[in-house]
């Protein structure tokens, strides 16, 4: 049995219920137990630019809450995964830093972190712990007609040293292999590794939106049926902002965006409701028709 504390973060449980729904249903089918911890709060990512020590304490607070339950952390958001994994890496490697952080954490929240747990992205757990063979065995619906573009994003695998170098930042393969294990085709396209721009949406919207515009253009040019992502903030940039980008640049993309667990859920015979497909903003008849009727 694979067992984790489910770390939802801020964005997924408010802006990407489709992702959360699909992840929970897929996990249950594949024997991954995900436990909710009510006290989890922000991972600290937004404060890294502002105040290093505060950001580290917010991360340590979440790590301590999971450790208290004896659970490793499974995060849905790539930025949360990166921030928590980076803090965990620092706290595990540096006992002096851990003591300093624990003094503050004890004073502010009555918690301490001993450095005994690990942090994983949900999709990395599918890739490494469930494994491609078990995923292939779980597939019941033929998705071979789907042509998909994988978007890895950044914090899912970078900085590579805090993610145990589990995938190659220059030529990542894990998501392509997972898409293929679900029975669909994964396309190669220019700029596969490019960032969604979410990190600067607040600081400079015009500049931020120029990044997803480039990716949407390149993916649409391949004739892909959808972009496949693993992070709710990438979804904000590619799906929620897609109409706005179309207006700004007087163009039309109409590119569906799928979270990988939604794709896998469809392949495993889950219904459109179970994978949250009706909540996707860019509608796709082709994807809806692949969903098993309940």
């Amino acid at each position: 049995m694979i067992r984790y504390a489910l770390y939802l973060g801020c964005t997924a449980p408010v802006r990407a219920l489709n992702y959360e729904l699909a992840a929970r249903h897929v996990a249950a089918r594949l024997g991954i137990e995900l436990r909710d911890i009510d006290d989890f709060g922000c991972c600290g990512f937004p404060l890294k630019s502002v105040h290093h020590q505060s950001a580290l304490l917010l991360a340590a607070r979440n790590l301590a809450l999971a450790e208290r339950q004896g659970l490793d952390v499974c995060a849905l958001c790539s930025s949360c995964t990166g921030t928590l994994a980076e803090a965990n890496h620092a706290l595990q490697c540096d006992a002096e830093l851990r003591d300093r952080v624990n003094r503050d954490l004890q004073a502010a929240a009555g918690l301490r972190y001993n450095g005994t747990i690990q942090v994983r992205h949900f999709v990395r757990i599918l890739y490494e712990e469930v494994g491609l063979d078990r995923i292939r065995e779980a597939v019941t619906v033929d998705l071979s007609g789907l042509r998909l573009a994988a978007h890895y994003g950044c914090h899912y695998l970078k900085p590579t040293e805090v993610h145990d170098h589990f995938d190659d930042p220059e030529n990542p393969r894990s998501l392509d292999r997972l898409i293929e294990a679900a029975g669909a085709q994964s396309l190669f396209y220019e700029g596969r590794e490019q960032c969604c721009g979410g990190g600067i949406l607040g600081a400079d919207e015009g500049t931020a939106l120029a990044l997803p515009r480039l990716k949407l253009e390149r993916v649409v040019a391949t004739g892909a049926d959808a972009l496949v992502i693993v992070c709710p903030f990438c979804d904000i940039m590619y799906e929620l902002q897609q109409r706005r980008i179309e207006k700004l640049y007087e163009t039309r993309f109409n590119l569906p965006v799928l979270f990988y667990p939604q794709l896998l859920g469809l392949a495993m015979g889950l219904s459109a409701d179970e994978v949250g497909l009706t909540l996707n903003r860019v509608k796709s008849r082709k994807l809806m028709d692949l969903a098993v009727r309940p």
Binding site: L58, A108, A109, G197, I200, G202
Partner: protein, 170 residues
């Protein structure tokens, strides 16, 4: 534009090197791999990591900390992975922004995020509407835990650092 040597502050690079994440700034040999790899630089000339690092090394403190461009790093780590000198540019940019904040320069979007975290412990507030939407989908309710956050910001001094009274100093 000419560089005015009277504006150079040799303590700036020391301060950056002493900041968590800024330790490797002196390793930079200005090869420009960061700028060539940068997806933000691909869409705007306003952000150029090699230029920012060089300005910092020259000690152009005010021009760096009061700029808009330091806030344009998307934190994608493309430069971090490729830097031949292990300058750790993403973390270096965080270090420079931390210093800028201490000098009274914080981008308004980050202040808004701080206010949300201080008030709600999350980037989005959770009203009954959010939990009703979650319940409709069969998802468990989520809660806000702002008290720990307020105590953490009191312990670290961040609450004082960006409290409303000092906000005019930007």
């Amino acid at each position: 534009m000419d560089i005015d040597s009277s504006q150079m502050d040799p303590t700036f690079v020391d301060e950056i090197a002493a900041e968590p994440g800024g330790e490797h700034i002196r390793c930079c040999f200005a090869c420009g791999t960061c700028t060539a790899s940068c997806p933000v630089r691909e869409v705007t000339e306003r952000y150029n990591p090699r230029r920012i690092i060089h300005m910092a090394v020259l000690g152009l403190r005010d021009a760096v900390v009061s700029s808009d461009f330091i806030w344009l790093c998307s934190t994608c780590y493309a430069c971090h992975e490729r830097c031949p000198q292990d300058v750790r540019i993403t973390e270096l940019m965080h270090a420079i922004k931390n210093i800028a904040v201490r000098q009274g320069h914080i981008h308004p979007s980050f202040r808004q995020q701080f206010d949300m975290l201080s008030g709600h412990g999350r980037l989005y507030d959770i009203t009954t509407l959010e939990n009703e939407r979650r319940a409709e989908q069969g998802l468990p309710a989520i809660a806000e835990q702002p008290a720990d956050f307020q105590r953490i910001f009191a312990v670290t001094g961040l609450d004082v650092l960006i409290q409303p009274e000092t906000r005019g100093a930007e």
